[in-house]
């Protein structure tokens, strides 16, 4: 139990340190949050704008809610992915990668700590975005099933974390290109996951990729919970694919990370300069 407690405490060290770093970079945090809020508002205004452009009435309120759920959930998922996928790049950028990797902790402890920070930080951001966006629109959230929505977010985060951990390993293999590849993965998830539209509108070959994106299922289930107030029991079928993705990507992510670390240790790629 003592070693486990020590690993949990070490995991918490990453959460605490990263939140302290966020506080120190507060100016940038405010700017990025402002950018996310403005982006969410811009997307949400497409709904009433659509009524004007199309010149015919449709349920703009439902479309606003559809888009708001999409933008806020994506803001959360994107932030989770970003924080996890760049955990190695961040350490390298700060120059701490060698001292962190030399610490007598399991690598999974580092991954767990970075992931816990990613979830907490991203959730806090998403709540702020939702609250601010809600001030601009008359959102009808009376039917929303918040317990279900929370459960979807919790389970959905795990699958995305698995992919994020795999992406985090890329900078261990490719010093600079690894981070570039991570951005490509992130952008691709945005395209295929149905953030601003149902995935059915995508061409068939592109729609196929939505099947393997956990974000697709999170968004579907979240809309069912928030827009239609679907009960927790009725949400269960949505959890199946998310759990399957988690079961595959989480161990795969940890394994890939370990393999990439061994590669980096063998080829002197831990540190950027060599």
């Amino acid at each position: 139990m003592v070693p486990l407690r020590r690993e949990v405490s070490a995991s918490y060290a990453f959460v605490e340190r990263n939140f302290r770093a966020v506080r120190r970079y507060w100016g940038w945090e405010v700017v990025f949050l402002f950018h996310s809020i403005v982006s969410a508002l811009t997307v949400a205004y497409i709904a009433p704008g659509g009524v004007v452009v199309a010149g015919q009435q449709f349920d703009a309120d439902r479309l606003i809610l559809f888009l708001v759920v999409g933008t806020v959930v994506w803001a959360y998922l994107d932030s989770v992915f970003d924080s996890v996928a760049f955990m190695v790049s961040w350490e390298r950028w700060e120059g701490t990668i060698e001292s962190t990797f030399m610490a007598p902790i399991r690598r999974v402890t580092f991954i767990a700590g970075s992931s816990a920070f990613a979830v907490l930080y991203s959730f806090a951001r998403a709540v702020v975005i939702l609250v601010v966006v809600a001030l601009f629109f008359n959102l009808d959230l009376a039917a929303a099933n918040w317990v279900g929505a929370f459960a979807v977010l919790a389970i959905g985060s795990l699958g995305l974390l698995g992919i994020g951990i795999m992406a985090a390993a890329l900078p261990l293999l490719f010093l600079e290109r690894g981070s570039q590849m991570t951005v490509v993965v992130q952008a691709s998830l945005l395209l295929v996951s149905g953030v601003y539209y149902p995935v059915e509108v995508l061409p068939d070959w592109l729609e196929w990729f939505s099947v393997i994106s956990p974000a697709t299922y999170v968004l579907d289930a979240m809309r069912a919970a928030v827009l239609d107030g679907v009960t927790l029991v009725d949400l269960l079928p949505h959890f199946g694919p998310l759990m399957l993705i988690t079961v595959v990507t989480m161990p795969a992510g940890v394994w890939v990370f370990g393999w990439a670390e061994r590669y980096a240790l063998r080829h002197g790629r831990l540190k950027r300069s060599g």
């Binding site: 060290a13 030399m102 902790i105 080829h267 002197g268």
Partner: protein, 275 residues
């Protein structure tokens, strides 16, 4: 008595092609020759010893430091720290070892207190005890009280390096690897860091391995010295025994290697930039 560090026939090459090498090989394209960073190194450091490794940039010092510090896997040979293999028992080795490198590697926007609290947590030190220890060590290193809570990017490089030494000491290592700890520091900061190394040597039951290209520093601090050149140990002895009559240690280095110590070599990058 079991040595603190035993290195036998240690070999390390770097493939300049990196990940692309596999593609080049598959496509039948010519590959660059691997860089020999460490070439059959044999070295034994006794407990409580301050052991210096001197060499030019690119000679293999930092590569050797990284292998001992479990940050680089050797191609062949064996490296043991207090009887534990650095490859197979990396986590055990990490528990009683720490390293101070040429760059003070911290989250620079965080304060010394925040950075050291992080270290204390990942090394499993009790929070209250660690907090007290952090203040004591930083005070001993003459870090001003008000600087302890300020971002580290507001400190001089010398001060940052002292915090790096403090971080290493906080974990009570029985093996301390100092990889060019005073390079680039102003004379005063350099002297302060060197004084602290002496203090560690005199008051802690620690073994110190010092990688440096500063011959005065090596002579002042080390019980024994090894001269490393192109990944090979040329000679190993007490500093006084390396010098001939009338020679400085730098003269001895030039005699042994054929060049002055400040030489920059092209493989420095592959070596981790430090040498």
């Amino acid at each position: 008595m079991q040595p603190a560090v035993s290195i036998d026939h240690l070999v390390k090459h770097f493939d300049p092609a990196g990940v692309g090498g596999a593609w080049r090989r598959a496509l039948g394209r010519p590959l660059k020759d691997p860089i020999v960073a460490l070439d059959a190194i044999n070295l034994h450091v006794q407990r409580g010893e301050v052991y210096g490794i001197v060499g030019s940039n690119g000679s293999g010092k930092s590569t050797l430091a990284r292998v001992i510090a479990t940050l680089l896997l050797p191609d062949s040979g064996s490296v043991q720290v207090f009887g534990h293999d650095v490859q197979r028992e990396a986590r055990t080795v990490r528990r009683f070892m720490n390293r101070v490198s040429v760059e003070a590697s911290f989250f620079k926007k965080l304060s010394p207190l925040e950075n050291l609290t992080f270290t204390a947590r990942i090394y499993g030190l009790p929070h209250g005890e660690a907090h007290q220890q952090i203040f004591e060590i930083l005070k001993r290193l003459d870090i001003e009280a008000k600087a302890i809570r300020r971002p580290m990017d507001q400190m001089s490089r010398g001060q940052q390096q002292k915090v790096a030494v403090a971080r290493a000491l906080l974990t009570s290592p029985v093996l301390l690897i100092l990889d060019e700890p005073t390079t680039g520091l102003d004379p005063r900061s350099k002297r302060e860091v060197q004084d602290f190394v002496r203090e560690v040597r005199d008051t802690h039951d620690a073994t110190v391995i010092l990688m440096t290209h500063d011959m005065d520093e090596a002579e002042q601090l080390c019980d024994r010295l090894a001269v490393i050149e192109k990944g090979r140990i040329l000679i190993e002895d007490q500093p006084s025994a390396l010098r001939r009559e009338g020679e400085t240690l730098e003269d001895a280095f030039i005699r042994l290697t054929g060049h002055a110590v400040e030489v920059d070599e092209p493989d420095a990058a592959a070596d981790g930039g430090g040498g």
